[in-house]
């Protein structure tokens, strides 16, 4: 018996579809990159919470600089490291809106350290999403503040040497110590289970803004298979083996 594709495309057979907030623009991320998954989750969360009209996103400098091409909401693109300063002003001037920032490790934990710490310390009522892949992706694989000890990057080709390069920075633990943060968690997106947990965290980060009780901060331990010079599968394995012991997953603060 011949089965036509038309017979299969029925609402009752639908198990997954692209979020209506994701645009038709092809993503520029490398195959295997975590950004694409997190971008999609953010689109899903905004759609499911019905917040398209209410949300303003702030993009960083780095691989996700063009994130505004992919999710159909209003956006502002910040200078390197300054997204929390933009987010602060947007939220204070439009307190009824939902505001989130999206930054990588170089952006949030190196050049933007002051903006990150002080936005969290003031308890700005925003969600900060922190993609930590331990490397500068867009600029071509240089050492990041979160690069692990011994991990090679183009500006530490023989591995990070703490004596020369300093130690990897755990920004998420630092912001958890600040009274201004309300919800601080570290998640990943390498398995179906991790994706579901991350989505829950993102929903919480948006919903928390209804109550104005402080900053929500979500780190996503991520892979950069191009920068790490691995296949996507190898990169996920390497992350589990090497990144997770130093950047353990789970909620650090939830009040």
């Amino acid at each position: 018996m011949e089965v036509s594709i038309k017979d299969i495309i029925k609402p009752e057979n639908l198990v997954y579809q692209k979020s209506s907030l994701l645009t038709e623009k092809p993503m520029h991320y490398c195959p295997g990159c975590t950004h694409g998954v997190v971008n999609r989750l953010i689109a899903e969360v905004i759609e499911e919470l019905g917040l398209q009209q209410e949300t303003i996103g702030v993009t960083p400098v780095g691989c996700s600089v063009l994130l505004y091409n992919y999710i159909d909401i209003d956006w502002q693109e910040a200078a390197h490291g300054r997204a929390p300063a933009l987010g602060t002003a947007i939220k204070r001037l439009l307190p009824e809106k939902y505001v989130f920032t999206y930054q990588g490790d170089g952006d949030l934990a190196a050049i933007g350290t002051a903006e990150t710490i002080h936005a969290c310390n003031r308890g700005e009522n925003i969600l900060m999403v922190f993609i930590n892949n331990g490397i500068y992706g867009m600029t071509g694989g240089q050492m990041a503040p979160t690069t692990l000890e011994g991990m090679a990057a183009s500006t530490c080709p023989f591995g990070r040497d703490p004596e020369r390069d300093g130690n990897p920075l755990s920004m998420t633990e630092i912001v958890a110590t600040l009274p201004g943060t309300r919800y601080v968690t570290r998640q990943a997106a390498h398995t179906a289970g991790a994706v579901r947990k991350l989505k829950k965290a993102l929903i919480k980060g948006f919903n928390n803004q209804k109550e104005n009780k402080g900053t929500s901060f979500i780190e996503v331990v991520s892979t950069c298979n191009s920068g790490w010079k691995m296949t996507p599968v190898q990169a996920n394995e390497w992350m589990v083996e090497n990144m997770f012991p130093f950047y353990p997953l789970g909620d650090i603060k939830d009040k």
């Binding site: 398209q52 009209q53 209410e54 949300t55 303003i56 702030v58 993009t59 600089v65 063009l66 505004y68 159909d72 909401i73 209003d74 956006w75 502002q76 693109e77 910040a78 200078a79 300054r82 300063a85 933009l86 987010g87 602060t88 002003a89 947007i90 204070r92 001037l93 439009l94 809106k97 002051a114 903006e115 710490i117 002080h118």
Partner: protein, 363 residues
Amino acid sequence: MDNKKDIRLMKGNEAIAEAAIRCGVDGYFGYPITPQSEVMETLMLLKPWETTGMVVLQAESEIASINMVYGGAGCGKKVMTSSSSPGISLMQEGLTYLAGAELPCVVVNVVRGGPGLGTIQPAQSDYFQSVKGGGHGDYKLIVLAPASVQEMADFVELAFDLAFKYRNPALILSDGMIGQMMEKVELKPYRKRWTNEEIKQMHPWATMGKPAERERNIITSVELDPNAFERFNHKLQDKYRKMQEEEVRCEQFNCEDAEYLLVAYGSSARICQKAMELARAKGIKVGLLRPITLFPFPTREIQALLGHVKGILSVELSEGQMVEDVRLTVEGKVKVEHFGRVGGVVHSPEEVVEALERKIIGG
């Protein structure tokens, strides 16, 4: 006396704060630095969040405050910051992003002497940084130079009008003398802040949340397509040419019959007014041209005087910055020299007259 008028004695920096609240500014983001700290101190004392709803926030740095301005400006709000020279240097990154994203805002620089940490005394040595862009890339700021406490107050509103008209940052280039001195000011009545609905109508580009009926708004300065980015740069230049055509403001004193011209802005222009009177009393036909807009520079206005003016002295509290624009304007037709004291030293009217006689008339 018209008792509706609100006339006060106040510092230039205080006048900035009063004017900001009264002209419906939505947000001020700043960081303390001498000699302009009274701007934020006055705002915090006046508590405008209880009256007009204006947000006032002390940021962790000038870098953060200018980027807060970016965020607020992107929402179509009237937002501003103020600082002094070293702080304004830190803001240059934010200013080039604001110019590149075509965002309106107002920045006040109460200039102190540099380079480096320099001094807290007045200077005019940030002219180049102000009128030539300041950060990276081909861009200009609209630059207004107040010469009195009254103009400190009046130029806040003017700067916002121009900033929104052109979607470009506007800079009020003051100095430690205008910021700190007290003068009589007539304050304008309070104007309501724009409502969010008004902003959506007036500034459809603002990020206020995307409704179904329009495309998403994106505030950005990045464009990786070279041809598109060349076209964008040309568009910016068209805007600056239009400013040069339509927005030049300057004040002229005794220029009709002047054989010699002083060109000076801000506090130097105040000193030059006295110098001009002293020279006139000696029988020297001196005029004073005070640029109010430093960008756009009063090129045509100076050129129109070259039929009878034989020499020009550019008087600035710097080692000679505006003099370069005067020379470009004059194109070698008459002698142009610079006179200025620096490091926080302020020239006296007598010194200006002596310099005019030595460098221009006798030189």
